[in-house]
């Protein structure tokens, strides 16, 4: 379905605009941004990246299996995608609760406002993607998809890879970007 590229493209461009806006705000107060950045958990962020990459890989394997009509293998790869998606959600939730416990909220300063906004919107994408993958997984167990019926899985997979690649940029932007 060609139209899905419009959705994915638009989403990518919107996020690019957000990255630009973040950098613009950072230009005006680099010291505060750097200080707040230090309170983020780099290790958790890095692990989140590993989780999402693995999730994308699992979903990509599902599509490869689908193309070759290895119908019995599709569900397990989709389930892998679902479980890793859920792991990301749990990890992010823990991270957010840690922040809230320290009294850090979106309104605390401009950096945190961006942190919660960017990761929050991304998390919403993860939740939607994981739900879609779950739907795919359920239907795949009943043999709904095949090499000749794979438009819906491919669209969902493309969306999921978008979610992955957005995090690939978000992580260094928020967590790793040191000041000069």
């Amino acid at each position: 379905m060609d139209g899905v590229w419009v959705f994915i493209g638009a989403d990518s461009v919107i996020f690019a605009i957000l990255f630009l806006s973040f950098m613009k705000d950072r230009l005006h107060n680099p010291a505060m941004f750097e200080a707040s950045r230090h309170t983020l958990n780099m290790n958790l962020g890095g692990i989140d990246t590993l989780i999402l990459l693995t999730s994308s890989w699992s979903v990509a394997l599902a599509i490869q299996a689908l193309k070759r009509d290895l119908i019995d293998r599709v569900p397990r790869y989709l389930l892998g995608g679902v479980l890793t998606g859920l792991m990301f959600v749990v990890s992010k939730s823990i991270e957010y609760f840690q922040k809230f416990a320290h009294g850090i909220m979106p309104g605390t300063d401009a950096f945190y406002m961006w942190y919660f906004t960017l990761t929050g919107i991304h998390l919403a994408h993860v939740l939607v993607g994981t739900s879609l993958l779950t739907f795919l997984w359920i239907r795949s167990r009943r043999g709904a998809w095949s090499s000749s019926r794979r438009v819906v899985p491919e669209c969902v997979a493309s969306f999921w890879h978008l979610v992955d690649l957005l995090w690939i940029v978000l992580f260094p932007l928020l967590y790793l970007m040191r000041a000069v």
């Binding site: 690019a16 590993l50 490869q64 493309s158 690939i168 940029v169 000041a179």
Partner: protein
């Protein structure tokens, strides 16, 4: 289908390694800020490109679509780095 022989598996391994390099390598104080930041974003751009080409299967997409999408990590990295270099230092 042997998982280990799939292209996507090799791409995944590469992406995982690059992630470890940036998160636990480049970001350590061994490297100066400019090297770390430029390195992180160049690597991020490369990672995004491989996710697009091999996971999203952009290699098989029509050329205009592929060009448009491949431009995204390049432009995003360039803009971010541009802003980073333009941001004043502080003591």
């Amino acid at each position: 289908m042997s998982v280990l022989r799939e292209r996507v598996t090799w791409v995944w391994i590469g992406l995982m390694v690059l992630t470890c390099v940036t998160t636990w390598g480049l970001s350590k104080n061994l490297f100066g800020p400019a090297v770390a930041v430029v390195g992180n974003f160049l690597i991020a751009a490369v990672k995004v490109r491989y996710v697009m080409l091999d996971f999203m299967e952009l290699r098989q997409a029509p050329l205009p679509v592929r060009v448009a999408f491949e431009a995204w990590p390049a432009v995003v990295a360039a803009v971010i780095l541009g802003f980073w270099f333009a941001t004043p230092a502080f003591s």
